[in-house]
Amino acid sequence: MPGSTASSSGSPGQPGSAGSTSAPGSQGQRGASGLPGANGLPSGSGAPGSQTVGAAGQRGTPGAAGGAGTGTFSGNDPFGGLGRNGGVLTAAERRAVLDAKLEESYGTFDGMIIAERQKAEKDANEAGSQVMGTGGAGGAGGEAGQEGAEGSFGEGTISVASAPTSGAGGNGNMPGGAAARQGDYSNQNQPTFAPPADIPSGDDDDVVARQLREAAMREPDPALREKLWDEYRKYTGLTK
């Protein structure tokens, strides 16, 4: 079979992080995207299009027909030279190759978006001033925004009127691992919580680990925060 020996299927996608409970006025944050697992090499004889782990909110790399190789494409033809015994690929094999190509491009796209967001965050930090306080997607942002926006108009601070604080509970109802719909955008004003002592610096975190780290550091609910750190530990192979 052309291409390298197929290895195990891609690691399962990480579950979406549980949404946070919220302060009044917000439905709380949706769980962070359950990102697909790290690019696994197509392998095995999974049924076309089957998922590796089927838990709600998780997406793994689709199992692909064996023998599809590692995606070393010849020229512009993604299927070049990959057929069995030099012949034409089956439909299932073609699907597998295309799925691999799709997954590969996901990684490129994710990297592009992360780079843009890091650049925007850097610009925001350099600007230094407080952004408009608001509920945003976070629970406590409204109140924080009100508190954080003191100062006269001359200082240029503005906050959006948040929901009334009395009697307007807006607790989110976010089951853990809910199907993801939100990116991890959060208002810059949200407080961050230091990681536990056993969590390393995260300089070598991949995309998924970084997402888990950021979600945990921004989670105001201690119980949910600990669960997110547990997921981070599980994903990065840390023992508690």
Binding site: L98, I113, E116, Q146, I158, A180, R181, G183
Partner: protein
């Protein structure tokens, strides 16, 4: 009795009454001023007080507002600055998004300058007037089926106290306007949509998004009526592999839109200081300008009326009438002269406003340009990637359909029923 004596005891002639009345009116009106009641009270934002199940939370996309420069009234053209207005279109959209998100009644609410076809609720607006004192916007909100939720104009007039730094108001002076818009949209949802309808909207937007990338696979699930309204014909299987691939793309679309929010965040942060200063200072100038214009107009009208009345009365042979005619002519002349002086003063106010506007434009123009460039650049890259994904999905679909008997195709499920409640 002589004829003259009879005349001296008769009713005053109109030639005497007219200029006298004009002078009396002048004295009265010159002391009057228009009373406009303004308030610093901000319409409160209605927040959701009950927990909404996640599957019922609708996502909202707010498009960049239209600048409305073609709708600027003639008397406001000189008070409108194009570059400031263009910056306001993004500011207003961002502010409305933040307000709606704060209510806790929605899923994700984002400013999205792109195609809203795969979004639950789409909001668009046009700024019709925006100066330090008055803001008028026209807002339209519709859901993915095409049903229009609201389509109306909102106006807010603020008082000078909205800008008084001693009051330490943390809100935008026009926060009440944004709150009212958010409240109306929420009110529509609460009063018109039950759970089933909310679920249908969510599902339809998911399928609509899928159609953007794999129309050959998903067109079959949506019908369009004669008015362009959309409805679900049937549903794909939940485990449909193509739908799951689309969900992966949709997650990334959310990430892309979140990246755009970062840009808008930074832009608003950069412009809000100078913009607030401009609104506060221009408020005073606009008030003065309006007053001067109004006074100039009034004095001109009255002055002309007095002169006309005086000229008519000057033809009379009656000494008293002639005397009042001179009063009318003199007073009318004075009023007209004053009207010209007021116009000159108003012109000076206009020049002061223009300076403020130019100053703000030069301050925010670089940020506006940078924002546009970033959005265009990122969107361009994203669209290129999307085009590649469409090709890949088309090939996958072709591979899936190849040699697949009709009986082996995934069974489609009917649209959800209320039994699921």
């Amino acid at each position: 009795m002589s004829t003259q004596n009879t005349q001296s005891r008769s009713v005053w002639p109109w030639q005497l009454v007219l200029p006298a009345a004009t002078l009396a009116l002048l004295a009265l009106l010159s002391g009057c001023s228009t009373q406009t009641v303004k308030t610093t009270t901000v319409a409160p934002l209605v927040a959701e007080s009950v927990s909404i199940p996640e599957e019922e939370l609708l996502d909202v996309a707010i498009g960049i507002f239209q600048p409305g420069l073609d709708e600027v009234p003639n008397n406001r053209e000189e008070l409108t600055f194009a570059d400031v207005r263009m910056a306001e279109t993004q500011f207003a959209a961002y502010h409305l998004a933040q307000t709606m998100q704060s209510s806790g009644a929605w899923g994700v609410v984002r400013v999205n300058p792109n195609d809203h076809s795969g979004i639950d609720v789409s909001v668009g607006g046009t700024i019709l007037q925006s100066d330090g004192e008055t803001m008028i916007v026209k807002v339209t909100a519709r859901d993915v089926t095409g049903k229009v939720w609201i389509d109306k104009e909102y106006e807010e007039v603020v008082s000078k106290f909205s800008y008084d730094p001693r009051l330490k108001r943390a809100e935008d002076p026009f926060q009440g306007l944004y709150n009212r818009i958010a409240n109306d949209i929420l009110n529509y949802r609460k009063q018109n949509l039950d759970r089933q309808q909310l679920l249908t909207i969510r599902t339809l937007s998911r399928i609509q998004f899928a159609r953007r990338f794999a129309p050959q696979a998903f067109d079959q699930y949506v019908t369009t009526d004669r008015q362009g309204g959309l409805a679900l014909a049937r549903l794909p299987a939940e485990q449909d592999p193509m739908l799951q691939r689309i969900d992966g793309i949709r997650d990334r679309d959310y990430q892309y839109v979140d990246a755009l929010q970062d840009y808008y965040d930074n832009f608003v942060r950069q412009m809000q200081g100078p913009y607030m200063d401009f609104r506060r200072e221009s408020y005073e100038e606009v008030m003065k300008f309006d007053k001067l214009q109004a006074k100039a107009r009034r004095n001109m009208v009255l002055g002309v009326a007095a002169i006309v009345g005086g000229l008519a009365a000057s033809q009379s042979s009656n000494n008293a009438v002639q005397f009042s005619a001179y009063g009318g002519l003199f007073g009318g002349g004075f009023l007209i002269k004053d009207a010209f002086a007021k116009r000159d003063e108003a012109q000076l106010q206009l020049e002061a406003l223009a300076e403020l506007g130019d100053s703000l434009e030069s301050e925010i123009a670089p940020h506006t340009i940078e924002l546009d460039e970033r959005v265009v650049t990122l969107t361009g890259s994203v669209q290129e990637q999307y085009a590649q994904w469409r090709e890949i999905l088309a090939e996958i679909y072709a591979a899936e359909m190849e040699g697949t008997p009709a009986a082996a195709l995934p069974a489609a499920t009917p649209p959800p029923t209320s039994a699921g409640q």
